[in-house]
């Protein structure tokens, strides 16, 4: 648990105190202080998360659920305690609705294969949007190949916005599922999730939200959103890699067959018949990522220690500052200019390829993402092979953004 008392007053958000919670932020890279602006790919871990994992590994490790011995019971309590925290974190209705998975990608694949595959008939439609990450495209393409269903893509506009009307116009009686990103990883666009879900619900369409990019930036209340499924990864919200969550509405999860067979997901096995375990374990075959789950629980506690409104206000201020700094650079074009964005900026610089820019910024200790961001259809839309992306967390500073601006200027001069 973190015990920093953060001021409620947004203007007094103590970013230095937050930074001290993250050991890696004190590191030097190529002789310069690290400016970590690649949080959209993976955020860093606070000491509290590292300590929770370390404590488990040192003192409590055993396999969970079946052991009667002390360590197994302790490990089980820690792991299931993490699940309890996640129930509250996203406001699920019950523990049955929080399925531990490897990450967002696995969560989406689980829904595609376990929920949608038995349901879809040839001619049915799966609706997504143009700005999706490959993880919210490819599982549906595979599903469509398997079932004869059709993938329908809702448009975005030139700012990278997705409009409810345009999406709703594509919903019809054949639409069986609508899957969309809460926040675009390549553009930063925040989608009007609640209204999109409402449009789908009116027509009886099941909804899945890819929350990978949203979960660290905003409060997520699955009951308020009204979605049927919500997927996210631990490592983008300050927890370890290899663990994530599928939230699913209990009524739907109950009806779904298990996705993988193995241990933990069964109650009884004979060679004639297997009786599946109850939720959530029905979907958790095999020994899970116990330490990762415990780390994820610690990350939830860590975030609960903050005034999230103040943290979000700081992130918004970072976005505004970055937009202002980058907009002043000649030849720089920001890709994704929706009015409502999470704190990331995708951009290209005339005469400087994103990969060269990434290498040059790294020389200054600045970590940004360059490439297609696993969103090639977005790149095609803007007719770009790649962009550079600076994505912020609440531990980033205005100074780091100024350094980013200076680094881009340096690259421009080099290639001029």
């Amino acid at each position: 648990m973190n015990n920093i008392a953060l001021a409620r007053d947004h203007s007094r958000f103590d970013v230095d105190a937050v930074r001290r919670e993250f050991p890696i932020l004190a590191r030097m890279v190529r002789g310069k202080p690290l400016a970590y602006l690649d949080n959209g790919a993976s955020a860093q871990r606070p000491a509290a998360v590292i300590a929770a994992v370390d404590d488990y590994e040192r003192r409590h490790h055993a396999n969970i659920h079946r052991g009667v011995h002390t360590l197994s019971q302790e490990a089980t309590a820690l792991y299931e305690g993490a699940r309890d925290r996640l129930v509250r974190f996203v406001n699920a209705a019950s523990r049955a609705e929080i399925i531990f998975v490897r990450g967002t990608t696995e969560a989406i694949n689980l829904v595609a294969q376990s929920y949608a595959r038995p349901l879809l008939q040839p001619g049915d439609e799966v609706l997504i949007t143009h700005l999706e990450h490959h993880a919210n495209i490819v599982p549906w393409q595979m599903l469509c190949e398997q079932t004869g269903a059709r993938l329908v893509v809702a448009p975005m506009d030139s700012r990278g916005e997705v409009h409810v009307d345009a999406v709703a116009a594509l919903m019809n009686t054949r639409t069986k599922l609508f899957a969309f990103a809460h926040v675009s990883n390549a553009l930063g666009t925040v989608l009007p999730a609640k209204r999109l879900v409402a449009a789908a619900k009116e027509r009886g369409i099941t909804t899945l939200i890819d929350g990978a990019q949203a979960i660290s930036h905003m409060d997520v209340d699955v009951q308020d959103l009204g979605c049927d499924f919500y997927a996210f990864s631990g490592h983008k919200m300050y927890a370890p890699t290899g663990v994530g969550v599928l939230y699913g509405r209990e009524r739907l999860l109950e009806r779904m067959p298990p996705w993988q067979g193995g241990g933990e997901m069964i109650l009884a096995v004979t060679f004639a018949k297997t009786t599946y375990n109850a939720l959530p374990n029905k979907f958790e075959a095999g020994t899970p990522n116990i330490s990762g789950g415990i780390g994820l629980g610690a990350a939830v506690d860590f975030l609960a220690g903050f005034d999230r409104q103040a943290a979000q206000a700081h992130e918004d201020a970072l976005l505004q500052h970055a937009t202002a700094v980058l907009s002043k650079i000649p030849g720089l074009r920001i890709i994704g200019t929706a009015p409502h964005k999470a704190s990331l900026v995708s951009f290209v610089v005339a005469g400087v390829h994103p990969h060269d820019l990434g290498t040059i910024l790294d020389e200054d200790g600045i970590a940004v993402r360059t490439g297609h961001h696993c969103a090639m259809p977005v790149m095609d839309f803007f007719e770009l092979p790649a962009t550079a992306r600076a994505s912020f967390a609440f531990y980033n500073t205005f100074d780091e953004i100024d350094r980013l601006g200076a680094g881009i200027e340096r690259a421009r001069k080099m290639f001029a």
């Binding site: 990969h355 020389e363 360059t370 790649a386 290639f415």
Partner: protein
């Protein structure tokens, strides 16, 4: 490791003004190279006179390293036989990947690529065009070439 060692003047120059850049009419072979990691794409077109590369041009989009590497490659292999060009491929591959590679003085301009070795994430940028060329030259049927990927 110094940035100036990666982005040497000759590389910056070839990025700014790529040589042999653009289409090639009545080419004997056309082959595409693709780096799915970064989205770099290039198309190589060549003419062969018996066994000699009589002309070679490239087009596509890529970073400074990949553009300069392709530009310098086309200059270097024009007029060479297939075997000579493949020998040069082996030498460049060694230069880009082997820390114990001998000094590259005899390679002229191409020696500028040696700085890339210190940036493992960028080696594929420099090798894309070379792998593409090597695939073309090793192919028995040059007219029916497809695409080459770095992955």
């Amino acid at each position: 490791m110094e940035l100036n060692d990666l982005y040497r003047d000759v590389i910056l120059d070839h990025n700014r003004r790529p040589r042999n850049f653009g289409g090639l009419e009545s080419a004997d072979a056309s082959i595409e190279g693709f780096n799915p990691m970064c989205g770099d794409r290039l198309t190589l077109r060549l003419k062969l006179n018996d066994d000699t590369i009589s002309d070679i041009r490239f087009e596509g989009q890529g970073c400074a390293i990949s553009t300069a590497s392709a530009s310098m490659m086309t200059e270097a292999v024009k007029g060479k036989s297939r075997a000579e060009a493949l020998e040069l491929f082996d030498r460049i591959h060694q230069l880009l990947t082997d820390d114990d590679a001998p000094p590259a003085d005899e390679l002229g301009k191409l020696a500028a690529l040696s700085g890339v070795r210190q940036y493992p994430a960028r080696v594929k940028c420099a090798t894309l065009c070379w792998h593409t060329l090597s695939t073309a030259l090793r192919s028995a049927d040059l007219k029916s070439l497809g695409a080459v990927s770095t992955e």
